[in-house]
Amino acid sequence: MSTEYVIKKEMKKHLLIALLITILAGSTIIAFGIAVNNFKYPLLSTLIFFPLLGSLFIFFISSQREELIKVTTLVVAIVEFILSLPLYLSFDKYSSKMQFIEKYLWIPQWGIYYSLGVDGISILFILLSGLLTILCVLVSWNEINKKIKEFYICLLLTHSAMIGVFMSLDIFLFYIFWEAMLIPMYLIIGVWGGPRRIYSAIKFFLYTFIGSLLMLIGIIILYLHTGTSDLMRLTQFSYPYKMQIWLFLAFLSAFAVKVPMWPVHTWLPDAHTEAPTAGSVILAGILIKMGAYGLLRFNIPMFPEATLALKPFMLILSVIAIIYGALICLVQTDLKRLIAYSSVSHMGFVTLGIFALNHQGIQGGILQMINHGIITGALFLCIGIVYQRSHTREIAKYGGVASVMPIYSALFMVFLLASIGLPGTNGFIGEFLILLGAFKAWKLMSILGATALIIGAAYMLWLYERVFFKKTTPYINEHIRGYGDLNSREIVTLLPLLLAVFWIGFYPKEILSFLDLSVRDLLNHFNSMIGVAK
């Protein structure tokens, strides 16, 4: 008993120190960040390299000192998030230009620059990524119990690479981050995942890798054609029509796998299901958004004619993904797998909105990406929380959880309703905008997409009934009752996402105002390029 007590006390001490450091560092950084708005410091590089330094630091901590490792990671994640707040606070919403630009010559032999910058679209993902990484650390606290050090290093590395993807303004740099992220993610799924983790990890890697390599060929062709790898300059060229189609397909092969679009989605249910909770949250929250982000950043502005030509094709694929994903959800027997397939369906909405190619559609698509990150992230967190108690994801084994874990059930309900798209939650805003945009573009597709919402409600509510209502099964009695409801760490984990659900649900203007000008600019550019071609 005494050792336990000592450990607990030591842990409290660690936590206290960590909290203090965080608050101190945070407030200075915020003050600094706001003050510094006029004289620029490399904020974006700091964001990329800080977690790298953090993971390097953790690398040198002895792997026996588990508490210290966890606390360090938490501090790094929190400081990282606070560091990213100046982005939000001093971002100029009334400019559609790239901001916080950094540009250094990196490989002079090829004329490749290390250049970073954010606009209204990417800034949201960076912030979301920061938030989700903190939550991932929290949720992994007790769940991950082997190779703890490696896990947290991987988590931080993934974070760095992910935000690097959203920041890079050089196509080569973009590719480096895009691929570099595969390594830690492969390990997270493969080492700490469920029973079929190895199969899923390899599948994830190979699917993504083949898509990325085809994109690499596209990048090389683009680079050789224009002689530059600068994203902003690449969008200014107008490419021959045939070349546009090929390049569009090359880039699509990478992005479609990541989104994932039907029919290359099959890695996702496996990866989501087998990954540890943190891995699922990152996958659902940020990683699959990189695909849609890539479509927005590369395919639409660079290959406008091809986009226009392939628009019906893309819309049809999106609607197939929406309906197919939703139907598959109905027959799932595994909690996580169900949410994974619902991701396929929801990401179908995202691509539907993006390829509607109008203001509402694209704005809705981006908003829906953020929403999906929040909602699905939260759902995976919820499933992780209950899985830790019951050690099963079989829906059939559950029942009557509501009577055992009332707070948990209420929170789950909120996220579930948000996922369905109930008005008042963020899911509604996104889906509404998308359907509006799609209706303008192609009425039939919008109608088909809207019907899938009904299937969505069906599988989600049915899931809720099976898991939370009915009679408490003996299995649940045996495994969950002893643990009781959510503890404070778990509530802290879910709370920010809960707030975000309602915040965006009631006041989407804040987020949309970031997007507004960037999307408008994107569409103006797109239309003018089409005009030039005609």
Partner: protein, 459 residues
Amino acid sequence: MNIPQVPLNFHALIPEICLTAFASLILLLSLIRINKFLLIWSSVLFLSFLFPLIIIYEGKALGEFFLNDFSAIYLKIIIILGTILSLLLLSSYLRSRLIILKDSIALLLFASLGMMLLVSSRELISFFVSLELMSLSLYALVAIRKYDIRANEAAIKYFMLGGISTAIMLFGIALLYGATNSTEFLAIFQNLSRNPELFLTGLGLFIVGLCFKVALVPFHMWAPDVYEGAPTPVTAFISTLPKVAVLGAFGRILIEIFPNYHAQWSSFLIVLAVLTILLGNILALPQKNIKRMLAYSSIAHGGYVVLGLIVGTETGFNAVMTYMLVYALMNIGAFGMVIAFNEEEIEYYKGLNKFHPVLSFAMLIFMFSLTGVPPTAGFIVKFNIFLQAIKAGYTWLVIIAVLFTVVSAYYYLRVVMYMYMKDPIKVPESFRHRELHIVIALCAIGVLILGVLPFFYII
């Protein structure tokens, strides 16, 4: 034949002369007892002393026979770097098996001397002699463990097939001489059109001979057996540096002397490159022995390199050289890990991460680099080769290469998967040597740094 007056100018040869003297000295020293530690580190010191010498003595020697220009310097730096790393690997391996060191160090040095001369030679006979100096030292190196039956078998195989390839190449050289009446590269270049049929036959045989040395499919048959049978550090050496030297020399000859026949030799090499990439990667898939797997992987890498040669320009060749630098680092590093774990079956790599977290992390870096995933250097150089190939219009070739890169990801990642994701089936009896760890650390850090800061070495 009139013998031309050759101006004797030994300046550019000074590094090679020094190396010859030092290697002979080591052979002599085998007569007396000497501290092994001293021997190894003085060799390393001497080799690193060669870096500045090579760079300083740029220029020609013996008339046109010997040229130490930028490409040669770059290649020689790779060769010496690789020799230092292999030397350290070899010494730690042999010391743990109580085998006499001195001869093997001398052989290693003679082999690298041969390679250095090879990349500089501008004349067919000296080209051939330096190639043989390299090859003969390598045959003996493979058999350095006298009582190891597998190693002896490998040595015999290597020797026989090496002999055949030498004969073919010599025949090619003879035909080239017959067609152009000269062995000097410059003179050959000037007299190309005299007798095209004879000349093309000679060129074909010459290329076939070289392909044997580089182990391009279908001339690769010897490689897996030899790589598997040879002592691991020797495998690290022979699967890396002879490729650097031979492909380096090969590329220079093809690009500088036979540019007019680019269409002919490149179509021949395209067939070989496709076959090599295809078979190398596919045959690596089912391998259970890691040395054999790495052997097939190194065959496949030969195919990627040839893509750069097919381009047939100076920039294409530069891409080849940078590829060689990184390839040397990652391949020697990977073989270093095989020595460190002292285990050849991939099965036994299961769960290694539990026992050796840092070493398995290094292996992870090598495996990802061999696959070509950023931020490792393997990606940068592969990108460079693909860039040059697409620039020259071989997009379809690159698509094939890319698809088989995905295949290669499967077998490289299998090693990572075994190390990190499976439970151990036996506790590895690793043996720890300072030299070994230095090599692995150097290679791993090198691969990472060259991957993140490519402006150092990209030409």
